[in-house]
């Protein structure tokens, strides 16, 4: 609780309170808000243009890389002579399966060590 307030000092603080109804202050605040908003819009506009330029530059190599990955992922790790066995083992006998297992192992290791 507030128990140590000196009344004379409190009265001085109250008397020192100045009425400040200056309309210029509110105008300045709103002007600053507007200019800050303009700056933010400019920055976001520049970032958007940069992002679009980057997207245009990397679009073709990205599509090629995705195409290669799509072709590479189902590739068998071990070749099996028998067709029906090859089909049966396909979900685990591929680069995609190896990557998925690797990811699960890393995640399990991370959870054991850091949580």
């Amino acid at each position: 609780m507030n128990t140590e307030c000196d009344p004379k000092l409190a009265a001085l603080f109250a008397e020192a309170e100045t009425e400040l109804g200056d309309p210029a202050f509110a105008k300045n605040v709103m002007h600053s808000i507007d200019s800050e908003r303009r700056k933010t819009l400019l920055v976001w506009g520049a970032l958007l243009i940069a992002a679009l330029a980057c997207a245009a530059l990397v679009a073709a190599p990205l599509v090629t890389a995705l195409d290669m990955a799509t072709g590479l992922l189902p590739t068998s790790l071990v070749s099996v002579e028998t067709d029906w066995l090859q089909e049966l083992l396909a979900p685990v006998n591929s680069i995609a399966a190896a990557l998925a297992l690797g990811f699960l192992a890393v995640r399990m290791f991370y959870r054991r060590v850091f949580r």
Partner: protein, 187 residues
């Protein structure tokens, strides 16, 4: 949507806060007009320089505009704004603010536009106190905040706040003894 200035001037604060949350600039301008005396006086007591206090007050209102959507209860606008003001002052004290130079003023370059004699003398006396002591005194005497409230707003330990206020009040009583004498004589 635009509302007339008269309508906004007559609207309760909670309505203005609600409108400001939807991005209404006019409503926020009205809030600034209503609350400027309070915030500017608080900042003047904190830093002792009217120009610099106005700069800080402007920062407070800009911060308020940026984050007013986070204010869920429109009726809590006052305490929320006060917290923003105190945080703005604390941040200014903590970091090496370029504006800081303006605060480290001498009596000669201190500006006291539209200040009364008492206000000027009070600010001079407050300027002799260390930053933390001054803040505690201002929050206690100017804002009429309890020690527990000061603790919650500033994060200072309660014991430190009590000792700051005791020490600061004693120093102010000494510095402003002339006013106490005048008050006694006029009784």
């Amino acid at each position: 949507m635009r509302y007339s200035t008269d309508l906004l001037a007559k609207s309760p604060e909670s309505v203005l806060v609600g409108l400001s949350r939807t991005g209404n600039r006019d409503a926020f301008a009205e809030l600034v007009t209503r609350r400027q005396t309070w915030i500017r006086n608080l900042m003047r007591r904190c830093c002792g320089d009217t120009s610099f206090a106005d700069d800080l007050s402007q920062l407070v209102f800009m911060q308020a505009w940026r984050s007013i959507r986070q204010l869920n209860d429109a009726k809590r606008f006052g305490p929320w704004l006060k917290r923003l003001a105190i945080n703005t002052w604390l941040q200014h004290k903590r970091r090496n603010d370029p504006l800081r130079a303006a605060d480290e003023h001498s009596d000669a370059d201190t500006t006291h536009r539209d200040q009364t004699g008492i206000a000027m003398d009070l600010d001079k006396a407050l300027a002799t106190l260390p930053d933390d002591v001054r803040l505690c005194i201002v929050l206690n005497y100017h804002e009429r905040m309890t020690h527990a409230e000061i603790e919650s707003y500033t994060g200072m330990p309660l014991g430190t706040i009590k000792s700051h206020i005791r020490r600061g009040a004693k120093k102010l009583q000494d510095e402003l003894s002339a006013y106490a004498t005048i008050a006694e004589e006029t009784k």
